[in-house]
């Protein structure tokens, strides 16, 4: 069993009460949020939800004893995740960051600002050196998103990534309209994290290409569709040519698709690159140089070696994969179990070095300790 330190790029955290966020809004938007007098306006996109086995998308023991939302309680997270699994760096990534999908674009801008301020004050303010976090941005207004990145990034050294979940313009994330976001991220030296879920749960009507799934099993099996499209879009639109220092972490899309998609792109590139002449290298080279992929929800065939054989079809795959838990969602992965499915020789890269490259953390030292 791997016993070294772990970077977990996908830890879902939250607030105990939405009032905590509303209190961080400016007075005008606070009034707006509470205008109904009973409750308040939603702070996240109106969702499309498939029924969960247990009615919620969380592990059932993840709810704090005080009845507050899953992921909202530091002590519970510490007891269930940080301490037992030796998580030395946890990248907090909200639940799951669909808040920029609220209907009102101006409210989305203000909401992201309030959430980022609260996050720095509350979670990063705890002083636990293991806690890092994403920045949430209003993707429907890329210029405003860029301003938010430049505003908030300098405020705390533990802001580790710019989180994209909801493609607010209804276009894949490689569309040049989003370039202000990448320019700002590159300028402040932060990677982009692309987390599954925006199309699925923001009521976009773009959840899956063949039409809406009729069950959670059906949906979950093809949930990576939009994210893979975003990845292809980013590569073929030349985003990494325009922003050569940009790094991308793909979160919660599994890993078994990598050989298939890269082989497909590489095979079609020589014929179809007419529309992407600015992409100077094979797509797979760009992928290797700029992108890392988290393992969860990892494909676990009956014979574990089959997954490794498949992945090894893509040279250097061990340099691209990053373990993550997806705490405290219902389908989170546990380090010992995932480790048992991958070659021992991959473990230092899988659990630390590959993610450390993305976030700019030191690599493990020769004794396997976090730097």
């Amino acid at each position: 069993m791997y016993e070294g330190p772990i970077i977990d790029p996908d830890v879902h955290h939250s607030w105990k009460s939405e009032d905590w966020i509303i209190d961080h809004l400016s007075p005008r938007w606070r009034e707006f949020a509470r205008a109904s007098g009973r409750g308040h306006v939603p702070l996240a996109a109106p969702g499309t939800h498939w029924p969960h086995l247990h009615g919620v998308n969380k592990r059932l023991d993840g709810y704090p004893a005080d009845g507050s939302p899953s992921g909202s309680d530091y002590e519970t997270m510490k007891r269930q995740l940080l301490d037992p699994f030796h998580i030395e760096r946890a990248i907090l990534s909200f639940d799951v960051g669909t808040n920029p999908g609220v209907f009102n674009a101006d409210f989305a801008i203000e909401l992201c600002r309030a959430i980022n301020d609260w996050n720095i004050e509350y979670w990063l303010g705890m002083g636990d050196p293991r806690l890092y976090s994403a920045i949430l941005v209003p993707t429907r207004t890329p210029e405003a998103a860029a301003r938010e990145i430049r505003r908030v990034a300098p405020r705390h050294g533990h802001l580790a990534e710019v989180l994209l979940v909801y493609s607010g313009l209804g276009k894949p994330f490689g569309d040049p309209a989003y370039d202000p976001i990448y320019a700002a991220a590159a300028e402040v030296g932060l990677p982009i994290a692309l987390h599954v879920g925006g199309e699925l749960t923001c009521g976009t009507g773009r959840a899956m290409a063949g039409g809406m799934a009729g069950s959670r099993l059906e949906m979950h099996a093809v949930a990576s569709q939009p994210t893979l499209h975003h990845l292809v879009s980013l590569i073929t639109h030349g985003t990494f040519e325009k922003f050569p220092s940009l790094k991308l972490m793909l979160i919660e899309v599994g890993v078994a698709w990598i050989p298939w998609l890269m082989f497909t792109l590489d095979a079609q590139y020589p014929i179809l690159r007419l529309e992407s002449p600015w992409v100077k290298r094979l797509p797979s080279e760009t992928f290797r140089e700029h992108v890392r992929v988290t393992t969860q929800p990892c494909e676990f065939p009956e014979q574990p070696k089959r997954l490794i054989e498949l992945l090894q079809c893509f040279d250097g795959i061990e340099d691209l994969l990053c373990f993550c838990t997806d705490y405290a969602h219902w389908d989170e992965d546990e380090p010992a179990y995932v480790g048992s499915r991958f070659p021992r020789a991959w473990w230092p890269k899988l659990f630390w070095d590959n993610a450390a490259w993305v976030y700019g953390f030191p690599r493990l030292d020769t004794a396997g300790r976090a730097g």
Binding site: L53, H54, R59, L60, D61, W330, D331, E334, A336, Y337
Partner: protein
Amino acid sequence: MLVDVGEASAFPERGMRALDVNGRRVVLVRWGEEWFGLYDRCPHQGGPLGQGVVLAGPRSEGVGRIGVDEREPVVSCGWHGWQFYARTGRSTWDEGCRVPSYRVEVRDGRVMLDAPPSWRLARQA
């Protein structure tokens, strides 16, 4: 070896509770007048079964028709929802996957779990 784990009336009629029995975590399931014991660790990724839910077992009645079998309660793990028959510990979908199960009976209003003697020895060691 029967171990007294509590007053029968203190257990919910359709539910379960995780207990420590001679140093071993056990889920005690009550389903009306029937009682079952399972090891409190999911064989999938080690989740605590006792933090999940217990419900009537699913039963396929042909494509597109789902029924339930009230006589066969299943325990659904609170992490990933892997399901096991409370009566046998067997997975609802895989004959080869099971959770250790223990006999439970009620005597004079007390719930008695048949704990393997090795548990006591392990605890003493």
